[in-house]
């Protein structure tokens, strides 16, 4: 009897399990119509601001030469290491010792670019008494804060770069070599104005086009690359009367910068959303978001885009330009044009606003889209939803050129009416 009951229990458990797992749901049709299911609205723009911040040279850090798109690359600075290796001579100035006989030297750069027209590349040594003559923040606008590189430099050597030397090949890299020998007298200049780091401690080369204008962009690999600038010096070291060591030493670059004049900021730029990373032009829009305060907790934003039309640009047909839009962490106080390089203050203005030149990006909302068919559509529903949920405190969005864009590319955009759509399940 007990066994029978046990079997019956097992059967019962199995039956319950099977039946319960096969549960279905009854479906009845037609929900009462509700007007607020999908709604749309327009977000009024209440304020805007064109401003200049510190120029960005883009993520493609190279040493640039040539003039393109109303920009001119003025010069590049490369600071070399003071020491190299472990066996004397280890420093630049050690090469000037009596026991060292410098035979020749070569400063060389590598490039991925080809060249259509030749130009003269001059290699200068910065001849100031300071050991640090530039920083990463050096740009066209703040050159005055640094030494006058033009008048504090000495031309060490010059080389003509011919288009034939830069033909694309399978390796992808070509080398620009600047030789220093006794025969042409260039080696003595190098020893006097560069290797003598006690007298000229900057150990900085300046490269610039010394010939006619180069109407194309040519670049050399920078310190960011493993193929960055290097200097090799061949020398003989006299060990004793019978022994002479014939060898070479290589010095590497440790920092560099290219200085260029970006597209000029002109009066027309103030009529548009003008973006250019080379000049640091950015834009901020403020919206009236009072609508969001009237919405219920469960309204969801959808299909809401910031639509920008290209009014004019210096983009070529094959150029890609990405527009970034982001929330900002601090509210804008001064809606006038501001710049860290131009005194934009007016009489009686609060001095604190004079320096309002950069705004911190809120990483919770950063969206980038490419310009296509002279228009860019950037979804902002995440910002609107975040603002509604209290994630963002400020009803302003910053628009700027993406770091991947060329610093020489500039676009002027028009903002269309912002139509937003929100739904409530």
């Amino acid at each position: 009897m007990f066994r029978f009951i046990l079997d019956a229990k097992k059967l019962l458990i199995l039956m319950i399990f099977i039946l319960s797992c096969s549960e279905k749901t009854i479906i009845y049709d037609e929900i009462e119509n509700k007007d607020s299911t999908i709604q749309t609205s327009t977000l009024p723009q209440t304020n805007s601001k064109l401003f200049q911040t510190y120029p960005k040279f883009s993520t493609r850090d190279k040493l640039f030469f040539g003039s393109v798109k109303q920009s001119e690359n003025l010069y590049s600075l490369v600071q070399m290491t003071l020491f190299s290796g472990n066996i004397p001579p280890v420093s630049l100035v050690d090469l000037l010792a009596d026991s060292i006989q410098v035979d020749s030297a070569m400063v060389f750069f590598q490039t991925e670019d080809s060249l259509s027209t030749g130009f003269d590349l001059g290699l200068f040594s910065i001849t100031t008494e300071n050991d640090s003559v530039f920083s990463d923040s050096l740009n066209f606008y703040n050159q005055g804060d640094f030494v006058d590189f033009e008048s504090n430099s000495f031309l060490l050597n010059e080389v003509y770069l011919s288009p034939e030397d830069f033909t694309p090949d399978s390796t992808g890299l070509d080398t620009v070599k600047i030789m220093f020998t006794e025969e042409d007298g260039s080696l003595s200049n190098l020893k006097e104005y560069f290797l003598d780091s006690d007298t000229y401690p900057a150990r900085t080369f300046m490269l610039k086009n010394t010939g006619s204008t180069l109407d194309e962009l040519f670049s050399l690999e920078s310190n960011e690359s493993v193929n960055g600038p290097k200097m090799r010096v061949w020398y003989k070291a006299i060990i004793d009367e019978q022994t002479t060591l014939d060898t070479f030493i290589t010095f590497f670059s440790q920092k560099d910068v290219s200085v260029f004049s970006p597209p000029a900021i002109n009066d027309q730029d103030f009529n548009y959303i003008s973006l250019n990373s080379g000049s640091g032009l950015r834009y901020i829009i403020e919206f009236d978001l009072n609508l969001l305060n009237t919405l219920s907790r469960n309204e969801l934003f959808k299909n809401s885009n910031l639509v920008l039309d290209v009014e004019d640009s210096n983009l070529l047909e094959e150029d890609e330009f990405y527009v970034v839009i982001s929330a900002i962490q601090d509210s804008v106080q001064n809606w006038n044009f501001t710049s860290p390089f131009i005194d934009t203050s007016v009489g009686g203005e609060d001095s604190s606003s004079e320096f309002e030149t950069s705004y911190t990006i809120d990483p919770n909302f950063v969206v980038s889209r490419k310009i296509e068919d002279n228009q860019v559509r950037i979804p902002i529903q995440a910002f609107l939803q975040g603002y509604k949920n209290g994630l963002f405190q400020h009803n302003e969005l910053m628009i700027y050129s993406a770091p991947v864009n060329s610093p020489f590319d500039k676009v002027n955009l028009n903002l269309n009416t912002i139509e937003v759509m929100y739904v409530e399940p």
């Binding site: 229990k9 319950i16 039946l19 319960s20 049709d29 969801l300 739904v423």
Partner: protein, 414 residues
């Protein structure tokens, strides 16, 4: 060990019957959860054994053995041109008589069912920025509170007996609204947690006779000890981008950027009381006619509006008339036959009242020396006045198995 597994499984797989009334208020109440009473459409009057109703503790002292009773149900609902079928566990109950003087019981059964889905059958279009968007909506609720009961029955004298149930209401239900735009699910979800206690009092007597045949009378009064409180968690709407029906970091807004759920507590949302009176007349040996009358009332606050429809049941009345012929114990006559008619009227707040008329049929088969029983019940009901649906026809089949043994019963008592 097997018993432990059995009860764990019970809690895991408990499901609810579904019908259009699940969309009213906090769901439809569950009547006749055990298969033996489906055929007679009543609760108080004998339907399990000659003098025992498995739903009436004041009759349990008449049992000779302990019984483990479990029922499962199959329900088919037809409305307009649609129909749907579902399966569920109806109830589980353990009844233990003691010296034919008193009885104890423990049971578990659904209390309210909220299992229903309504959706748009047509697609609506909306134009935005010269783009046409198509959308439909689907509202659904599921789950519902369950009821666990501790029961006690006591024989006062040869004629009268009393009983009581202490009912603990617990469990949760889910509510979801889905706006489907271009295959994107926009979900608004909430969850209701129920808690409350109720007590049922039973009195039964067979003092009266008619033509020397006994008339069995029974009455019950159900009332809340503590009204049913509901804790509502309302989650912020989101777009379920990964279609997993769950708000996570891949959805919009992602879970980290969404507002915390709103938690609201509503006291005394449901205060259900009822009075039931029934009479059973054994006009010839083992043949009975029965009548039962039910008054059901809900005086709850109903401040929380989380139902599919805007209306809820305020009260209902039910009358049932039934005939039953019991098997003769320890003979070849092993079958119980049952038949009944019932009429039920629901008074609905904010919406049209609902009328229900139904038919119940049942058969029971006794086997084994301990009076094991298999019950099969069938109920046909037609409801009029249902919101959106209009008329609905329900077919319910219930299968119950009752296994009797000497658990907790001293052998010498037999």
């Amino acid at each position: 060990m097997l018993s432990r597994k059995f009860f764990i499984l019970l809690f895991l797989t408990f499901a609810f019957p579904q019908n259009a009334m699940s969309g009213y208020g906090f769901g439809s109440s569950v009547d006749n959860s055990d298969a033996s009473s489906v055929g007679v459409s009543n609760q108080l009057l004998p339907s399990f054994k000659d003098n025992v109703s498995i739903s009436n503790p004041s009759t349990w002292h008449n049992l000779l053995f302990s019984y483990l009773n479990t029922s499962v149900g199959v329900q088919n609902a037809k409305f307009q041109s649609s129909s749907s079928t579902n399966f569920s566990l109806s109830s589980a109950k353990l009844v233990i008589p003691w010296k034919q003087k008193m009885a104890f019981g423990v049971s578990f059964e659904p209390f309210l069912s909220r299992e229903v889905v309504i959706n748009d059958t047509t697609t609506t279009s909306f134009t935005f920025n010269e783009e046409e968007l198509l959308y439909t909506r689907m509202n659904s609720s599921s789950g519902g509170p369950s009821k666990g009961s501790l029961s006690f029955g006591y024989k006062l004298n040869d004629f009268d007996s009393i009983g009581t149930n202490l009912n603990i209401v617990f469990g949760s239900s889910r509510y979801s609204r889905n706006l489907i735009i271009e295959n994107d699910n926009h979900l608004l979800q909430s969850r209701d947690y129920f808690s409350g206690t109720m007590v049922d009092l039973f009195f039964s007597t067979n003092r009266m006779k008619f033509k020397d045949n006994p008339i069995f009378l029974s009455a019950s009064l159900s009332m809340p000890l503590k009204g049913i409180n509901i804790e509502n968690d309302s989650y912020q709407a989101f777009i379920d981008l990964n279609d997993n029906n769950y708000h996570d970091v891949n959805d919009f807004p992602d879970i980290g950027q969404a507002l915390l759920p709103l938690n609201q507590k509503f006291d005394n949302e449901l205060k259900i009381s009822s009075f039931t009176f029934g009479a059973d007349y054994e006009f010839s040996p083992r043949k009975h006619v029965q009548a039962e009358f039910l008054l059901w009332n809900d005086n709850g606050e109903h401040n929380l509006n989380s139902s599919i429809y805007s209306g809820y049941l305020e009260s209902k009345n039910k009358v049932s008339l039934s005939y039953i012929k019991f098997a003769q114990p320890f003979s070849r006559d092993r079958y119980n036959f049952k038949g009944s008619l019932f009429f039920q009227n629901y008074e609905v707040k904010n919406l049209e009242n609902i009328n229900e008329v139904g038919l119940g049929l049942g058969i029971g088969f006794n086997f084994g020396i301990t009076g094991n029983q298999i019950d099969l019940g069938y109920k046909l009901a037609k409801r009029d006045g249902l919101f959106l649906v209009g008329t609905e026809t329900l077919h319910s089949f219930n299968l119950g198995i009752s296994i009797g043994d000497l658990w907790f019963v001293k052998r010498r008592e037999i």
